[in-house]
């Protein structure tokens, strides 16, 4: 037995694999919330993305290099279409963001559009022919410790790392990112210097939706990888908690996503090793830990310095003062 078979390496590698959808979903939600819009529809948007990706992969035959990128784009479009409903209602019509997001999850989710479309398209017959397989990056997958953890993940994971870097740079190193943060912190100020509040919010809610779509595709094209109703099983909600856990910063969120990816994967990892722990306990761990972590983060001293965007959840009315 080599070091790469040791439990700790296996768990960390699995944490990154299972954490990848959380990274995409939470990254999208960070963008939306940084603009001041909470979108509780993440779970529903993920399922829209999952069903869109699953449809492309199951219907269109072709080389993986063509089918999979198309599937990802369709997943992004599907989820962004869901986000568009939320955007119109919360930004233009200024309705309660909480209830609108819940409505989106009910509309799109386990008993809604996603299962409707899956029914029409007769998905879920079996694993899709084209999946995101593990990529042996630079031929280093057998390198001790770092091989399985860093160099033997799927293309989606590598894409998520690029996305985290891109979003971090965008948020904190570009003018547009500054505008975005200004809109989320003080829309009045942003408006007064000519930053379009509504436009900024629309763009980031839609991009946030597209990210959730990729997160859904992670399930239907890689983790599961076929259509199962409600296959995201609450991961969208965990992504929402990760945004708070990461203090609305992509780098801190990444840590949380892998922590929760690890917790979600424990069941499979430990059972594959024949370690006998009740599966009910292991199933409940990610959900219970979300509550525990949220309580700790909400009361940590850092919260005062790195809080939520000040205008989060509040519609912007130019006339109001």
């Amino acid at each position: 037995m080599t070091i790469n078979d040791s439990l700790i390496v296996v768990i960390v590698a699995a944490a990154i694999y299972y954490g990848t959808p959380l990274v995409f979903a939470a990254l999208g939600e960070i963008l939306a919330e940084r603009s001041g819009v909470i979108n509780l529809g993440v779970e529903g948007m993920m399922l829209l993305g999952a069903v869109g990706a699953s449809w492309v992969a199951a219907t269109f035959d072709g080389p993986a290099g063509i089918v999979l990128p198309i599937a990802l784009v369709v997943a992004m479009l599907f989820a962004a279409a869901g986000a568009a409903i939320h955007a119109v209602l919360t930004i233009t019509l200024r309705v309660n963001q909480i209830i609108s997001g819940l409505a989106l999850t009910i509309f799109a989710g386990i008993a809604g559009v996603s299962s409707y479309l899956a029914g029409i398209w007769k998905l879920g017959q079996g694993p899709v022919p084209n999946q995101f397989d593990r990529v042996d990056l630079f031929g280093l997958s057998d390198a001790p410790v770092v091989g399985p953890i860093l160099f033997n993940q799927t293309g989606l994971t590598y894409l998520s790392w690029l996305a985290v870097i891109a979003v971090s740079v965008y948020l904190f190193r570009t003018r547009l990112g500054l505008h975005l943060r200004a809109v989320g912190e003080s829309p009045q100020t942003a408006d007064s210097v000519g930053v379009g509040v509504a436009r900024t919010r629309y763009v980031h809610v839609l991009i946030g939706g597209a990210f959730a779509g990729i997160a859904g595709a992670c399930f239907s094209l890689s983790i599961v990888p076929q259509w199962v109703n409600g296959m995201t099983s609450g991961q969208g909600w965990i992504a929402l908690a990760l945004v708070i856990f990461g203090f609305w910063r992509p780098d801190l969120m990444l840590v949380g996503a892998y922590l929760f990816g690890g917790l979600s994967s424990l069941r499979f990892t430990l059972q594959a090793r024949g370690i006998d722990i009740s599966s009910a306990v292991l199933d409940a761990v990610p959900y219970v830990m979300t509550v525990v972590v949220l309580v700790l983060v909400s009361n940590s001293p850092a919260r005062r310095r790195l809080g939520a965007p000040a205008a989060l959840g509040r519609p912007y009315e130019r006339e109001e003062r």
Partner: protein, 378 residues
């Protein structure tokens, strides 16, 4: 000020007519049906035929209405659960989990009391157990929100999954007190059936069957209305919702009010869970409970009822009709997922409708008059 381009603007209305309490929900509901029809058309289904089948199986004969009342009973309780909590700005979306816990404690109590207990003891005991179970489960996000400033939306939702896992564990993964370990229960995991004496009654009026749970729910809805409108606690709820700082200055304790409302809200959902076992299922059926999703539908009920407990009664019957039709039509020519789609659309349209009541849509061709900058004398 920037000149406003040609477009639309929302302008607040000065007065709110009373009739909006009725018209908004009705128009929202119709708008949702219209939006659903577009989706059905786009995917090659016939909307009129589909809606007609739903109406038929929901309301158009006695058998359909009986099924609708059965589906409406849990929705009445989960609808009240959401309505009570949302009214004070406590977004308890854990009705689903509180419902499971109520089903677990309710059925556990009925099983523990055994076959010799009379109904007039067993049924109130189940009601109490369900309510207490749901209340304790909901008190967790309540306490975390009130005293640890933790977002109740996520915590209450996470606890839904935990409650579901507990229910599945009790029947499928353990030899618990709830599980039937004799006869066919050895082959296929299932729960013990509660004793006959603990079955909740149904009253028959010439073919129409009214479940005891529904009557209880109506009574509870009226009690909630009185609590909100006629008591000191109801007043405190309004102040805590509207102005937490004022509440604190006035000597109220917003934290306690939040926890109390969370517990009441959870008790209602738990009661619904006990009713689902006592009145209809007579067993603890985790998979069945999870498939129904009564807790999430309760949010739709509460929103369409504009958080009014009395209106919840009628909306629960309406949504119960759709749910019931969804069950009985599930099959080849009825698309799955339609029930959730309609519920989501109803929520969207209710939200949109609220806006069009509070505001007027005004066309802006010219820039609005500048608002004078009033300096506050210091």
């Amino acid at each position: 000020m920037k000149t406003q381009r040609f477009g639309f603007r929302l302008e607040p209305r000065a007065d709110l007519p009373r009739y909006i309490n009725i018209t908004v929900p009705i128009l929202s509901f119709l708008a949702a049906l219209a939006a659903g029809a577009v989706l059905l058309l786009a995917t090659g289904e016939n909307p009129i035929a589909t809606y007609w089948r739903i109406a038929e199986r929901a309301f158009l004969d006695v058998g359909a209405i009986n099924g609708t009342l059965i589906a409406a009973t849990p929705l009445l309780f989960t609808g009240l659960c959401a309505a009570v909590a949302f009214r004070i700005g406590f977004f308890n979306i854990g009705g689903e989990g509180q419902f499971y816990i109520g089903a677990i404690t309710g059925s556990g109590t009925a099983l523990a009391l055994g076959a010799d207990t009379k109904g007039w003891v067993a049924i109130p005991a189940m009601i109490l157990a369900g309510a207490v179970g749901g209340a304790l489960w909901a008190a967790i996000p309540g306490v975390l929100r009130a005293f640890f400033r933790t977002n109740e939306i996520i915590t209450s939702l996470m606890l839904n999954y935990v409650a579901g896992i507990i229910a599945v564990y009790l029947i499928f993964e353990s030899e618990s007190f709830w599980r039937d370990l004799e006869g066919s229960g050895q082959m296929f995991p299932k729960s013990k059936t509660i004793p006959l004496g603990a079955f909740w009654p149904n009253w028959s009026f010439g073919g129409l069957i009214v479940p005891f749970g529904l009557v209880l729910g109506v009574a509870v809805a009226i009690w909630i209305r009185v609590l909100q409108k006629r008591t000191r606690f109801g007043y405190e709820m309004r102040v805590v919702q509207g102005a937490p700082t004022t509440a604190r200055y006035a000597g109220m304790r917003p934290g306690r009010v939040i926890v109390a409302v969370a517990a009441i809200s959870g008790a209602l959902a738990g009661l619904g869970g006990a009713a689902a076992v006592g009145n209809f299922r007579q067993v603890l059926d985790p998979k069945g409970l999870q498939q129904s999703g009564y807790g999430y539908s309760g949010i739709v009920v509460a929103a369409l009822a504009r958080l009014n407990p009395i209106a919840v009664i009628f909306v629960a019957i309406l949504i119960g009709g759709i749910t019931n039709a969804g069950y009985s039509l599930q099959g080849a020519d009825f698309p799955p997922g339609l029930v959730g789609i309609l519920q989501g659309l109803i929520l969207f349209c209710t939200l949109g409708g609220e806006v069009l009541v509070r505001y007027r849509l005004v066309r802006t061709t010219t820039p609005p008059p500048p608002v004078p900058n009033v300096e506050v004398a210091s």
